[in-house]
Symmetry: C2
């Protein structure tokens, strides 16, 4: 049994460090119904931090699966007026948003992917204006809690209760919680290390990165000159500091949309909308995914890449050493929040606008023009390998080794 004081410590960390909720702010928590106990702790911590109001947006994956199985594309695509109104209110009130992931990594296996894709495209079009309106204006965080099915996927040999306990312990380790410590102080120290790494990389003003591994990865990606490397905490436009991912071990930047060449071989499976994609590689030409193969989940991968025009292009380049604390756990989480922080990765799809120097004064269109990708998706996939070498090149073609044998070498 996971001790209640540890669950409370975790809930408090999510509220105080994750979204860093301030007195008088409201919060929205997105969670699965089977996590009602932990969610209650998070709600309690929100109120203890002075939340004016907390709303829980529940879902439950087996029911989500029934919706996708039985509803027509037309019904799935419809955004009721009240849902649009809710997004509008969020864009006005800018609540803290807490996402608690706990889903079975392949819990939506078997649903019609084309139905999923079409309905998501339709809903995205309606809701995009509200998402755009609140971009970079509200604090948000993604954290995870074990469901029975997810825990059994990570620890298939254990009984359910033992698997859940073990997964909780592993998660606590990744987010720097121990019985004795003050995790808030641990996060402050942890975030400081990223700042130093980012400063070093930002000073290099790299034009492009090349990736090479014996597994077949042979790839070059060009960066946006105005884009910074960032990692750890972020700040909203009105100065609210928050930590969008718990855990986090990555530093990342925005690649130039439409400028990438070569092949990336994935080194970890990817759970995308409840289906596992595994043993896959993607080849880029003129910055766009031009061909791809997957031994598992090929259809899901295709549907993902074909979500929209921007889904074929890269939106994120992230560096994580092969000996990162999470990778040293030697666990396959089947959950991107953890696996992306255990491995160098890229994201297909939307790029982060707040990485661009001066983004506060630029329109979405201007940001797109200088190379920030736009898409309805943003999906990380992992390419870290023990022998991965990454070399940076400046505009003047000076080579700067960044990774050797899977680790930072600068």
């Amino acid at each position: 049994m996971i001790k209640k004081n540890m669950l409370r410590k975790y809930a408090k960390l999510i509220v105080q460090v994750g979204v860093n909720l301030q007195k008088g702010q409201s919060a929205v928590i997105f969670a699965e119904a089977d996590q009602h106990e932990f969610v209650t702790y998070v709600v309690d911590e929100c109120y203890k931090s002075g939340a004016s109001e907390v709303r829980v947006e529940w879902s439950f994956q087996p029911i989500t699966k029934l919706h996708y199985r039985h509803q027509s594309v037309k019904t799935l695509s419809r955004v009721p007026d009240w849902v649009e109104e809710k997004h509008k209110e969020n864009a006005q009130n800018l609540p803290c948003m807490i996402h608690l992931l706990s889903e079975d990594p392949d819990g939506l296996n078997g649903i019609n992917r084309s139905k999923l894709q079409k309905s998501q495209q339709a809903r995205y079009q309606v809701l995009k204006p509200y998402r755009d309106a609140m971009e970079n204006k509200y604090p948000w965080t993604i954290a995870a809690v074990p469901s029975a099915k997810w825990a059994k996927k990570v620890f298939p040999g254990l009984r359910t209760s033992a698997a859940i306990e073990k997964l909780y312990e592993a998660i606590f380790e990744t987010v720097h919680i121990t019985e004795q410590n003050d995790p808030i102080a641990a996060w402050t120290a942890h975030n400081q290390t990223f700042k130093e790494r980012c400063d070093t990389l930002n000073a290099l003003h790299l034009d492009r990165l090349t990736y090479q591994s014996a597994n077949g990865t042979d790839f070059t990606v060009w960066l946006i000159p105005e884009a910074k490397w960032e990692g750890g905490g972020e700040t909203t436009l009105n100065g609210h500091y928050f930590n969008p991912n718990m855990p986090t071990e990555e530093i990342f930047t925005a690649p130039m949309a439409g400028k990438a060449e070569g092949r990336l071989v994935a080194t970890k499976p990817l759970s995308y909308y409840g289906e596992i994609i595994d043993d896959f590689s993607i080849t880029f030409k003129n910055g766009e995914a031009s061909s791809w193969t997957a031994k598992t989940g090929a259809d899901a991968l295709s549907k993902m890449i074909e979500s929209d025009e921007g889904a074929r292009r890269l939106g994120e380049v992230a560096l994580v050493p092969f000996d990162s604390a999470i990778n040293n756990q030697n666990l396959l989480y089947y959950n991107t929040l953890f696996d992306e922080n255990a491995s160098c990765h890229f994201a297909l799809g939307d790029g982060y606008t707040n990485l661009i120097n001066g983004y506060e004064n630029m329109t979405k269109e201007q940001l797109r023009e200088i190379g920030v990708n736009q898409s309805m998706i943003h999906v990380d996939f992992m390419v870290g390998a023990p022998d991965l070498s990454i070399t940076g090149y400046t505009k003047e073609n000076t080579a700067v080794p960044i990774f050797k044998q899977g680790k930072f070498c600068i």
Copy 2:
């Protein structure tokens, strides 16, 4: 462990007999998050019956309690535009509404009742037009599933898992589900018995009923001449047959608002918004509750009766013999859905308009004028006793014994 096939049988009964969902209709399910497994069965059955769309409106009582504890009356009172829009859409689409009760009977114990009352009053005013607009137009049902806390309240001596199992078994008995039977056929037969009882009473055209018991009950209530006795299934204005309560053992009619005299002594505790009211009696003068006492939950009782003007008057008179199947279980459910069907009862508050002959062609105002009570609350309380005698009187003052020694005698 409750067998899955029994849970599926129950879910199917709720969908096919409770709301009697028809192909192409949508459904909304109101449920607590800890019931996610059973809710999944109900969603599945909705789709199997051809639902176009199913929405689950989740809540979780411990979180509800946190909201009432920490939010201001102003925040609790506010109905966001998107919530109003959702009610508007419900009033247009008229989905089947399934309410699954599972709450701890005193799970909201200790919250500020005045805060609860004020915020409910405010929300009621905003949402009333939408509720009025859909009245008698959509099928709905209330059924129950055991939560751990509720089960332990009913069976305090058992371990949690055994208590849940035992409460499930008791509930299955009340809704006519056995391992072998076809509960749908059992419901058809059961409902037939109410029809016969109602026909007998309707033929008497009673003017009033008097109640007498050695426990102190000494009471007269006047009935609305145009009101029928009904029980079992109901029919919406456009002819959709449904069963609003599962289980049901009552026949009921509409009392004349403002015409009742004497004292009613409650014979079972009442769980009202998560607090238990027990050992109470209410005295009526000129049809209004004029004084009341309660050994437990006196404040909750007062707040309830003072909800609005109509909350002081009666909205329902219901007859249930002391030897009803549910009462013969000798269980105290602390849940009105069961306890009201184990005992003669009255409701304070809103009256059912569809009991009035010709209600289809009458306005809310006309219905109020002929004596149907209106209120934001409708709360049943139980007065059945083993020695209860009820005598009906016609307009011509002919006495007709209805109950002797707690049972029907006509």
